[in-house]
Symmetry: C2
Subunit: 465 residues, 2 copies
């Protein structure tokens, strides 16, 4: 038989057993060794090939393991594989690369950008160095599915002191972004659950809720916050709100409206308010606005917090504070779940908060953003009322309204020609909520201070007729 | 009116405006200032309180922002809040701590544990130091939703050289664990999709599939892998398999069975095979077993890979290689999705792979695990056949079968008394698949080498009648 014709090359790097394995495999794949064929004994083949019996044995073991051949006790080895084995090596395909878009944009006013210049790299490096240490080898293993206790305690401490929320660390769930946490929450709810969402609002949340098969309805906003009439008319099970700083307009939900929303939630069982407190840290006049969760004495508010705006978007650490009833469901039903955040990152962040660096960082960033905010305001001042900024003195973006008769389409067209990325309000609103004058969300946080004037002049130029 | 009775204390740390704000807020909350009540003018109040008008203005602004009061042009400020404001500060609740269980366990034979002693901490620290650098400040912003290109290229390079899979980096999706990736995949499928899953098998996958409302059915295993008769009988849309090293038995799916599975998938549209290649790196005889994906010329295999076993479970980095048709759906429909892995971690891992450290680490770990594996085998040798190890020479666990008439319950009872955490096969199997003799999955990787003998002696002692 052909098998004895194999030539093993002792001068090349490939081990002899592997050459033999590869040869026999090819003989089987190409059906020169048919199904059922008996192979020569290991001893005979080793003698013939002038290799050790060990070499043949290793090759046979691999072929057995992969199912090409099988051994029958006291009989020897037989070919086991048959059928059309399409096991042919193809030359490596060329990589298809996607077109890179980012480089062609001059200024991107995305509201999700932050100032990256002021991040405390040396400190973050030092904390990483401290955590990535032989003495912490237990951190390499899986931790608590809700997030490590150290981080949850640090978060509980932070939300108590910064936001007045008094929560048990055990009610906190840490996750790799608000989307991950929302998906976990959604997976606990019956598919008939109805959601009401601020309109204009965070469209990603609308998409996410609808993607998972739930009905998500826009709810009108007015100067006091989400319309309570709209809430009562829709009668949803859950509402999603941003009461401290409405996205994107910056409206603060009034104390009356907060009260009305909590009363609405308390009226029947299984009504909940999802409070997304996405950038409450940045307010440039007075104190920060207290969250709805602080007034939630009936445990009806699901509080969402994130380090995306306050620290780094790419760190992917967010958290939710679950009412006890939902927490029980979470623990009972999400038993397959592991934490979605690296434990090393969790402990670095926990130390960053515990050692007081987070507070200092927030104070520093608040000054930087306030300066940028005031500068932007000042630059727009001369163009009132034909170009007007709206909203509160807070957050990492402003909304600019163009009242000179220009249309959104014209302005976006000019922006594109100038390679400026603008975000019209229509991205964030249903058709009903779109206003007469074109409006744009202008994320200023991510533009370098020294380029801010140039960047804003582009917008002003583009918005003028 | 009462408002003029406020006493501001200039000797304490709290700013004057905040004292005034707090006073007025309490007056409103306790309904001493009723709805509609006009407030004194800023000038009048400032004069009366002997503070600057600025102080009063700041306090009023905060009250306006939070909706307690409103201004009417040329008229002044009015109380806006009414209703039962339950806004009372409560004393901070005591934290409820959960009982800690881990410390009471002497040896935990969980198959998800790894050897943490040999992790290259200094190298990992160095790579973190290099990536967490001012010059990389762009890494702080959000990156590609599928994972950064650098990491996807490194993974493509790795799976090509280590597993023979030739894939475009653009078909790779990086995520914070197999569960996250599976949830994304499941969210693209119609709810009528039927899954077949190896039995015994990875029960977490069964729970996850069922939690999301899909029907997941156990499929029998035999010595060639998942039963093709069972697949054809159930006729699922997707099957979940671990062909290179079946979990938990270690069976390698034969080349025939691989061919049959691929043929089955190719027969009609929308049939896919999910291949979980969870610990293919660790095989102690011969070469590693090639993955099913390598033979997948019709793009019907979804390949799942993870760095949990090969590097660190707590890093939470996994990946899937999507067939082009599913990739198109992923990109079209998961538009709300951001990456679930920190970009700093992504770049650290990319460098770890690119610079050849991952390969070296795998070689090193393979030696360590082989040594542990062989030692465990040797320790059990004397107790054959009443205690017998099953399976291939691979992976981070073995399966031990107890043939002395003892029941699973008795053995678990004794293990508990001795504070030994054992994982019976019944955790990983449906009722149908449970065998006559009790079997236990013994994860040996996480037990320190110097304690391995003691740990195994505990098992042997516990398993003996």
């Amino acid at each position: 038989m052909d098998l004895l014709s194999v030539h093993l090359d002792k001068t090349i790097d490939t081990p002899l057993y592997e050459q033999l394995y590869e040869f026999i495999k090819q003989e089987i794949v190409q059906e020169r060794l048919p199904y059922g064929q008996k192979l020569p004994s290991k001893r005979k083949l080793a003698n013939h090939l002038e290799v050790s019996q060990n070499t043949v044995e290793t090759a046979f073991e691999q072929l057995v393991a992969e199912g090409y051949i099988a051994s029958q006790p006291r009989k020897g080895f037989y070919v086991l594989a048959h059928g059309d084995l399409e096991f042919v090596e193809h030359p490596r395909k060329k990589e298809i690369s996607r077109p890179e878009e980012a480089s062609s944009v001059l200024f991107d006013f995305s509201p999700s950008k932050i100032d990256t210049e002021a991040f405390p790299f040396p400190l973050w490096r030092r904390l990483n160095r401290q955590v990535i240490d032989e003495s912490n080898h237990d951190l390499l293993l899986l931790g608590d599915a809700q997030g490590d206790r150290e981080l949850r305690q640090a978060i509980a401490h932070y939300v108590y002191h910064a936001r007045g929320i008094d929560c048990d660390p055990d009610t906190i769930v840490v996750g790799a972004g608000i989307e991950v946490l929302m998906q976990q929450l959604l997976s606990l709810l019956p598919s008939s659950t109805i959601f009401g969402i601020e309109d204009p609002g965070y469209q990603l949340m609308v998409k996410l809720i609808r993607h998972f098969g739930f009905s998500g309805h826009p709810l009108d906003m007015n100067e006091e916050g989400i319309s309570i009439e709209a809430v009562r008319h829709l009668s949803p099970d859950y509402i999603y709100v941003t009461p401290s700083n409405h996205f994107p307009y910056g409206t603060v939900t009034s104390i009356n409206r907060r009260n009305q929303l909590l009363q609405w939630a308390n009226e029947t069982e299984n009504r909940y308010i999802i409070e997304d407190d996405y950038d409450s840290e940045f307010r440039y006049v007075g104190k920060t606005i207290p969250p709805l969760k602080k007034m939630d004495f009936n445990d009806r508010v699901i509080y969402l917090g994130s380090f995306s705006k306050s620290l780094i978007p790419s760190l992917r650490i967010s958290y939710m504070i679950l009412p006890k009833k939902l927490l029980a469901q979470y623990r009972e039903r999400l038993t397959f779940h592991h934490s979605t955040v690296s434990r090393i990152d969790q402990h670095v962040l926990a130390r960053f908060i515990q050692e007081g660096h987070f507070e200092k960082h927030l104070n520093r960033m608040r000054k930087i953003y306030r300066k940028k905010f005031e500068f932007v305001y000042q630059l727009f001042e001369a163009y009132k009322p034909s170009i007007q900024l709206l909203g509160e003195q807070s957050g990492l973006h402003v909304v600019c309204e163009v009242r000179n008769g220009g249309t959104e389409e014209e302005i976006l067209q000019r922006a594109k020609q100038q390679r400026i990325k603008l975000y019209p309000i229509s991205y964030y609103a249903s058709k009903n909520a779109v206003v007469t004058h074109p409006q744009f969300v202008i994320g200023f946080a991510g533009i370098e201070e020294k380029k801010l004037e140039e960047a804003v002049q582009y917008i002003i130029h583009i918005c003028q007729k």
